[in-house]
């Protein structure tokens, strides 16, 4: 089965600026020359891992960083060299999306763009240290539409320091007004060690109670507007409102369904068979190894069958469709399951297990409790 991985992730680490809340593997700046060397390295790694991949890929995802910050020629070269797939997604920051870039993406086989909008409020965007203003978001969206994209996603953040309920409502309205096919809404996490947490950690802790209802509000508003809450933090326009199309992000769905994937680039993670590995995040050593035709330095984590079962359960329960019980039973704590079912947080549907709506709002704690080990 290792010869048939159908999902490919490519990490493009370059950014114009590192936002305060970000804990991804990112590199600020770099010129076309460095971007070019990085693309070479990714393609070299791709060659090394090619044997793992199926001849025809289902999805390719370029994440970052800011993939669209990469020098245009280098980005085009990368896209052209990667194998085609049914879904090819690129993450974009609004300020990087010009009509030219939109056309470039479209020409080179990208059929889905995920726009890091985060908010439509000037002051909240500046708290987040985002470079784009609200107009940049709208403009980017239109450029992509003009280039023919019919599968666009917007990322929104809620729980930003200083964000009141009215702000949240307005952000959702503004996002919906653009009519995206897909929305990802995340609660802002104060991740330890980030500059942001240092500055806003206490404030976030203080307002956490006031913001407790935001998640419910997001779900209510978006489902009310015709979106399917298909994953904890992800929404897509219902098929009946989208000409029958299933607009779930297929690449991410592969993660949630516990499928294998290969990740290329610094910090990228791959899971294939009973193994998971993560490329080390240092650029220099990545470039060096791949230029010698060697695999970059990695951390390898063996995944036993019990771990994979547990992961299938914890990932699958993020979705709105039941997790088939066959094969994950051993990962389930039957006492906890009975208790949670009694509390109306989990339910069995046919031969599958799913979280109720309330269960989904409490999905982290509920899933933790369900795990048997």
């Amino acid at each position: 089965m290792s010869a048939g991985v159908r999902h490919l992730y490519v990490h493009m680490p370059f950014c114009a600026h590192r936002c305060g809340y970000c804990d991804f593997v990112t590199l600020v700046g770099g010129d076309g020359e460095l971007h070019g060397r990085y693309v070479d390295a990714v393609l070299a790694e791709f060659e090394l891992e090619r044997s793992l991949l199926a001849p025809r890929l289902e999805t390719v995802f370029l994440g970052g960083g800011t993939p669209t910050f990469t020098a245009a020629g280098e980005l085009a070269r990368l896209l052209a060299a990667l194998p085609p797939a049914k879904e090819v997604t690129v993450e974009a920051n609004p300020e990087t999306v010009t009509p030219e870039l939109a056309r470039l993406l479209s020409r080179d086989g990208v059929n889905r763009v995920s726009i890091g909008a985060q908010s439509f409020d000037e002051s909240l965007l500046s708290v987040l240290e985002r470079r784009a203003g609200p107009d940049d978001v709208r403009r980017a969206f239109h450029h992509l539409r003009d280039a023919g994209f019919d599968d666009l996603s917007l990322d929104l953040l809620y729980g930003i320091p200083g964000q009141g309920p009215a702000h949240l409502e307005r952000d959702l309205e503004e996002a919906l007004a653009l009519g995206p096919e897909h929305l990802s809404c995340y609660e802002l996490e104060a991740k330890p060690g980030t500059r942001f947490t240092h500055t806003y950690g206490d404030e976030l802790a203080r307002q956490s109670e006031a913001m407790e209802g935001y998640f419910e509000r997001v779900v209510e508003t978006l489902t009310g507007a015709g979106y399917r809450w298909y994953e904890t933090a992800n929404f897509c326009l219902r098929p009946e409102l989208a000409g029958g199309r299933d607009l779930r992000a297929r690449h991410n769905l592969a993660y949630w369904l516990g499928r294998d994937y290969v990740g290329l680039g610094i910090g990228a993670v791959s899971t294939v068979g009973g193994e998971r590995w993560r490329n080390r995040p240092k650029l220099g050593r990545y470039l060096e190894a791949t230029s010698r035709g060697e695999r970059p330095p990695r951390e390898v984590e063996p995944l036993g069958e019990d771990v994979r079962r547990r992961e299938r359960l914890l990932l699958g329960l993020r979705l709105d469709e039941p997790v088939p019980l066959a094969g994950v039973e051993a990962a389930l704590d039957p006492v906890a399951l009975a208790r949670l079912t009694q509390l109306g947080l989990t339910e069995q549907v046919g031969s599958g297990l799913t979280l109720t709506d309330r269960g989904r709002f409490l999905g982290g704690g509920v899933t933790a409790e369900l795990l048997a080990f």
């Binding site: 993020r318 982290g364 795990l371």
Partner: protein
């Protein structure tokens, strides 16, 4: 030894006033212990005693001084062991009363001095620590002389630390103390003033022979408990064990009894000959009863057998320790333990944790109650869980508290005692600055946080001592705590009617803080019978999600959830609610200020 050349004495002092150091100096000065082998505080054998600076078990050491045989009988230094102190004093003709030159007279100094006077002991007052820069020996001497009705000039000035004046103190003992006056030819009567347990030899009794002779291999009889045994070995400590053929009237020493059960020999009992023995025991024997009770539960339920074994072992050395199995819905299997008092409880708990390496949950302490259920027979209740809701009458133990404070704190102390249902008895000026207050208080009111409150409200100046004076009727009710509708047995408490509302409210509020939010609303109620007196609600969580989870996050998120689940496994169940153990501990220890 000719009785006229024997002097038996104790050293009595408030905690930290230097009793142990003085004992060490005496041993050194009389060459009982060479300086090289001198360990600090030779008489305190247990590790715990050395660390806490207190003496738990009395021992007796024989030394020679200018042709006299001096027996130093060490006494426990704390209120919980008043009975043991009194037995030790009964074995003596006199006492060195040690007062810290800087601290002056304290509550325990007084309590012990009065105890010594009650036992008709000759008191040799000593002001210690005269080498300290802040020492005021004249004032301390004047204070102590005043209490004893003695001449300040007869109060000795010493420094146990430097050794200054210690020889004079020994001379004073020889001069001022009477020799023992027992009848060497009468049938044997020996007072047991302490006992301990030796793994190989069984129970060891420390005795003072009053009349007659106690001979090795003699068949003897402990009169109160009617226990007969052979005196397998007799001897004295100097400070090592020195076996001899016999102990004669006036002498102090030890007896190996061969008994394997400490409960068969009690402090205060009289040993006599099994045949042709005395008919009258020595006066003063009392069956000491535990007054303070608490539930002890292993934090890991697997440790229950270890806890039981540890208690069995402790009991060998501590006849006053009482325990019986107890089952709590919330805490599982454990023991309801009875203690002489708060310090005794702390010592037992620390020894269990330290010497037996056990992790314990200790419930809030309560006292013994005498309850007359409606239409039933009077019972003694040791646990709130056993307290009947329908009762005719209930009695609780009362104490007589002596508190010494600088005069500016008198009002503060009175206020505290009023809050604690205390009734004022009287007060005395011990000096121009210091006042002795005597109060009667329910013991239940001091087992929680009285001592801490007293110390903090008087900025550490108050000293405190107490004596149980008996049982009295009180208007007491049982307050139950219900979590999500289920009564949590370990949290029930018995409270005076006037305080039930406030205490119930405080506990409910505390619980609200400690119970983490669950997947559902959790009502917390305090109730007397079916009447709810306080209520709070821990609101259900509305969200608990891991925001993002993509290919690069899976391992980390999985580990996070696994850790969360592992944490859950350690939780204690309160009805349908799960509580981290630490939170439970925080709640149980509400107002537990008994630590010193």
């Amino acid at each position: 030894m000719d009785q006229s050349r024997i002097r038996n004495f104790s050293i009595i002092a408030h905690i930290d006033h230097g009793k142990s150091t003085l004992a060490d100096r005496i041993l050194e000065l009389t060459d009982a212990v060479s300086q090289r082998e001198m360990r600090e505080q030779v008489l305190d054998t247990m590790e715990l005693e050395r660390e806490r600076g207190i003496t738990i078990k009395a021992q007796a050491v024989r030394v020679s001084w200018k042709g006299y045989e001096l027996n130093l009988i060490d006494t426990p230094g704390h209120v919980d062991f008043t009975y043991e102190v009194s037995r030790s004093l009964q074995a003596c003709e006199g006492a060195l009363l040690v007062v810290d030159a800087a601290q002056g007279v304290e509550a325990q100094t007084l309590a012990n001095a009065y105890l010594a006077l009650e036992n008709n002991l000759e008191i040799v007052p000593v002001v210690n620590k005269i080498d300290l820069p802040q020492a005021d020996p004249d004032r301390a001497a004047a204070d102590v002389a005043e209490i004893l009705g003695d001449d300040p000039d007869r109060v000795l000035r010493i420094s146990a630390k430097t050794g200054e004046g210690v020889a004079d103190a020994l001379d004073a003992l020889v001069e001022r103390l009477p020799a023992p006056l027992g009848d060497p030819d009468a049938p044997l009567r020996a007072l047991i003033f302490d006992s301990s347990y030796d793994q190989y030899r069984g129970v060891v009794a420390f005795v003072r022979v009053i009349d007659g002779v106690l001979t090795r291999r003699e068949a003897v009889h402990a009169m109160a408990l009617a226990t007969t045994f052979e005196a397998e070995e007799v001897g004295f400590m100097s400070p090592e064990r020195r076996p001899i053929e016999r102990l004669t009237a006036g002498e102090v020493g030890y007896v190996f009894t061969g008994l394997k059960d400490v409960s068969r020999l009690r402090v205060g009992d009289t040993i006599t000959a099994a045949r042709g023995g005395a008919t009258e025991p020595l006066p003063g024997y009392k069956d000491v009863k535990p007054m303070v009770f608490a539930g002890l539960f292993p934090t890991e339920s697997d440790d229950y057998p270890e806890l039981r074994d540890a208690l069995d072992r402790l009991k060998l050395n501590d006849a006053a320790l009482f325990y019986e199995p107890e089952t709590s819905q919330a805490l599982g299997f454990g023991f309801r333990c009875g203690f002489l008092g708060l310090l005794h409880m702390e010592i037992v708990r620390e020894r269990l944790e330290r010497e037996f390496d056990l992790d314990l949950l200790v419930t809030a302490p309560n006292v013994a109650y005498r309850v007359l259920p409606r239409g039933g027979e009077a019972i003694e209740v040791h646990s709130p869980a056993d307290f009947p809701s329908d009762l005719e009458e209930v009695e609780e133990p009362y104490i007589r508290a002596s508190i010494i404070v600088p005069k500016e704190f008198v009002g503060t102390v009175m206020e505290l005692n009023n809050e604690r249902r205390g009734s004022f008895d009287h007060m005395e000026y011990l000096s121009e600055e210091r006042v002795l207050l005597l109060y009667e208080l329910p013991l239940a009111e001091i087992v929680l946080d009285y001592y801490d409150q007293l110390k903090s409200r008087t900025r550490g100046y108050a000293s405190f001592d107490y004596d149980v004076v008996g049982f009295r009727a009180g208007e007491l009710s049982r307050v139950d705590i219900l979590v999500a509708g289920d009564a949590v047995d370990a949290l029930s408490l018995i409270v005076h009617r006037d305080f039930a509302q406030a205490r119930g409210r405080a506990l409910v509020e505390r619980l609200k803080e400690e119970i983490p939010r669950q997947f559902f609303d959790v009502p917390i109620q305090a109730a007397i019978g079916s009447r709810v007196i306080a209520r709070e609600t821990v609101k259900a969580k509305r969200k608990d999600v891991l925001a993002k989870c993509y290919g690069g996050d899976i391992s980390r998120k999985r580990k996070l959830l696994e850790r969360q689940k592992a944490g859950k496994k350690r939780m204690k169940q309160l009805g349908s609610v799960e509580l981290p153990q630490e939170a439970f501990l925080a709640v149980l220890s509400i107002g537990d200020g008994s630590r010193r």
